[in-house]
Amino acid sequence: MFSFELLLNAVTAGLLLGGFYAAVSLGISVTFGLLEVANIAHPVFIIAGAYGAYALNTALALDPILAGLLLTPIFYGLGVVIYRIYYVSFEQRGEQSLRGLVFFFGLMFIVEVSLLLVYGVDYRMIETSYIGSSVLIGPIGISLRLFVPFVVGLILTLAVYLFLAKTFYGKAIMGVSQDSLALRLMGADPVQIKTIAFGLGIGTASLAGALLLVIAPVEPSIGREYIGRVFAITVLGGMGSIGGTLVAALILGVAESLTATFSGPSWALAVSFGLLLLALAVRPAGLFGR
């Protein structure tokens, strides 16, 4: 069944999927990779972002991507509040390891149940002009439903990368991830910097949620399906490396797509996670980890 055309299409589909995975994993890369806060509730914030985009799309006929973008400040604020609670309740007392994990577990269920109460259990999906259509470039078919999230995912990754690399606050976040004491000695407040970083991580969830809504129907508990993937991508890319997250997401996307095309879709996830194990065996810090 192998053909060059099929191979080209599989790689393209994998890259498109990888762009989406990058957007979904970006928040975890910041909160877990840089701040080492095991925010396992991140996927549920993505689902909350999807529902937010759905609500704006339904009420105001806004494009889901635009809706996701408009919701970013709200999600940033939410992230700020959550980190403050987490800091005061756990991190300040040095109890962040296990109790912090329980906190995020609890948060995950609270958000999930809140979505259930507001929207019910029914699947939600939207209708836009680019869902269900595709363009042909030579032998390659590009599904717009995946292309739009790919482009937005790349832009989002680039924006976060530039923010961390070029701005004062970004550099401070990178600094706090390496040595918060040194940052304190420089006169900066590590807690404030971490708060901004956590807000940034959750802020990306609204846009990632909007991308998810474009790709597939959502229901409140669907976020759990992404927990494994997003942590795997963050670890594979190297903790805290934004570029690494993008590369790892693309690798996983292409691996899934190639396996689904040529070896049977059942093996897709197994091959992806096999790759993760293999990569970690060779480079325990991840592909771009230090």
């Binding site: 999930e112 019910g120 269900g132 129907p217 229901e219 689904a260 059942s266």
Partner: protein
């Protein structure tokens, strides 16, 4: 003086008798009110992937319970539903049914929604020899052959094969003859069983299988799968999928340009209003199984009254606004159990179980009669085709003409638009 006393005594006696009578009435009323409820226990997917169906089914059961209680209950006892959320997790089911039977001491148990969640309850129910009403389990009793399992989905004696039988029967009727088939489905209980049944049917009919694969339910992008199917150029594509993958596969089929002669089969989810309104015209041409559709040939007594009641509560409950797929069957399942309890005047499991086996029941989905293995004695699976869907308006799906019945002949309401691509024009 004595006379005065007698009068007083008589007056007091009269008051005493009156008071006693009132006390008796109150006591009797409280005794009759305290008649223990018939408790029916179940686990149901109220959260998780199958929750949209689970909540809709529960609403239908609650409608039945309220109607029964308004009429005085069953055998003079009110009916109570005792339910727990199984979270669409098969691992949660054994604990729920053990609690229902050992701690809650329910009188009857019924299943939650779907094969995956019925299977783990079977050993517990069988061990305790309870009547077990099944809601849309596909061949769950095939290996157990438990005599008191009754399954409301009209799959007939061989439900695994029945799920695809009409689809492939339709394929054999086409000219020129169709030869090649692609089979695809999710890695889960129902799709595996449906695909196994499809393979048996294909073997008998002599089709050539050119693609046969399953995918994990967590798959995000279905275009590589559909592209692989397209590369094999099949005449027929049979899909056994759950709601999110059904949507993903329909969208991917349009994006990739998959155009077999027949497409569909066992796609769960396309029957739900939420997806029908969003997929709209992309559904045209798909030939899929169904159980009840608002076609004139299926206008059973009571079905419209039930749907009216259901639809009035659906929005508040946050469930499927039309409720054509599962709710009527959940209601009918309760009707069967209720009629059996009422007819036997008993809650004895054997008595009720034997009665259900021996009798036919009038329900809102038609006459129901169970066979030896607890499935319908005679199958009544419908094969429908989505036709003439123009936009995303919900009301078009409420009436006839959008999901016409192709098979069985007895319930036929329209003709096939063939091939698949023709219906997309």
């Amino acid at each position: 003086m004595i006379r005065q006393y007698r009068c007083r005594i008589r007056a007091w006696a009269r008051r005493g008798v009156l008071l006693g009578a009132i006390m008796l009435v109150i006591a009797w009323a409280s005794v009759s009110q305290a008649a223990p409820a018939i408790r029916i226990g179940l686990g149901m997917a109220l959260t998780g992937g199958l929750a949209p169906n689970g909540k809709a089914a529960l609403l239908a059961m609650e409608i039945w319970r309220d109607e029964v209680n308004q009429k005085g209950g069953l055998i003079g006892r009110p009916v109570e539903l005792v339910y727990y959320d199984d979270q669409t997790k098969p691992a949660a089911v054994p604990g729920i049914y053990s609690k229902l039977l050992d701690v809650d001491n329910v009188d009857f148990v019924i299943s939650g929604y779907g094969s995956n969640l019925i299977a783990p309850a079977m050993p517990i129910v069988i061990e305790r020899q309870r009547v077990f009403m099944g809601l849309f389990g596909l061949a769950n009793n095939e290996k157990f052959n438990y005599p008191y399992y009754f399954q409301i989905m009209p799959g007939g004696p061989s439900p695994a094969q029945e799920f695809s039988r009409a689809f492939f029967a339709l394929a054999t009727q086409q000219n020129p003859k169709l030869r090649t088939v692609a089979l695809v489905g999710a890695d889960a209980e129902y799709p595996h069983t449906a695909l196994a049944g499809a393979r048996e049917n294909l073997k008998k009919l002599g089709f050539e299988v050119v693609y046969d694969s399953t995918y994990p339910p967590t798959t995000v992008d279905y275009t590589p799968i559909v592209r692989s199917i397209k590369a094999t150029n099949p005449d027929i594509v049979f899909v056994a999928s759950y709601p999110p993958d059904s949507v993903g596969l329909v969208l991917a089929a349009h994006e990739v340009g998959l155009r077999p002669k027949l497409f569909g089969g066992g796609m769960v989810g396309l029957q739900f209003a939420q997806f029908q309104t969003k997929l709209g015209a992309k559904l045209n041409g798909i030939v899929n199984y169904d159980f009840w559709v608002p076609e004139p040939t299926l206008d059973f007594p009571g079905i419209n009254a039930f749907l009216k009641k259901y639809q009035a509560q659906a929005e508040k409950a946050g469930v499927d606004p039309l409720g054509h797929y599962l709710p009527p069957w959940a209601y009918a399942m309760m009707q069967v159990l209720g009629q059996a309890i009422e007819a036997t005047k008993s809650t004895d499991q054997k008595t009720v179980g034997d009665y259900i086996h021996a009798n036919a029941f009038d329900t809102i989905v038609g006459k129901v009669k169970f066979g030896a293995n607890g499935e319908w004695e005679k199958a009544r699976m419908l094969l429908v085709q989505y036709q003439h869907i123009k936009d995303n308006d919900l009301s078009q799906f409420a009436g006839p003409g959008k999901r016409v019945v192709l098979l069985p002949e007895e319930w036929k309401s329209g003709t096939l638009i063939y091939p698949y691509a023709e219906a997309l024009k």
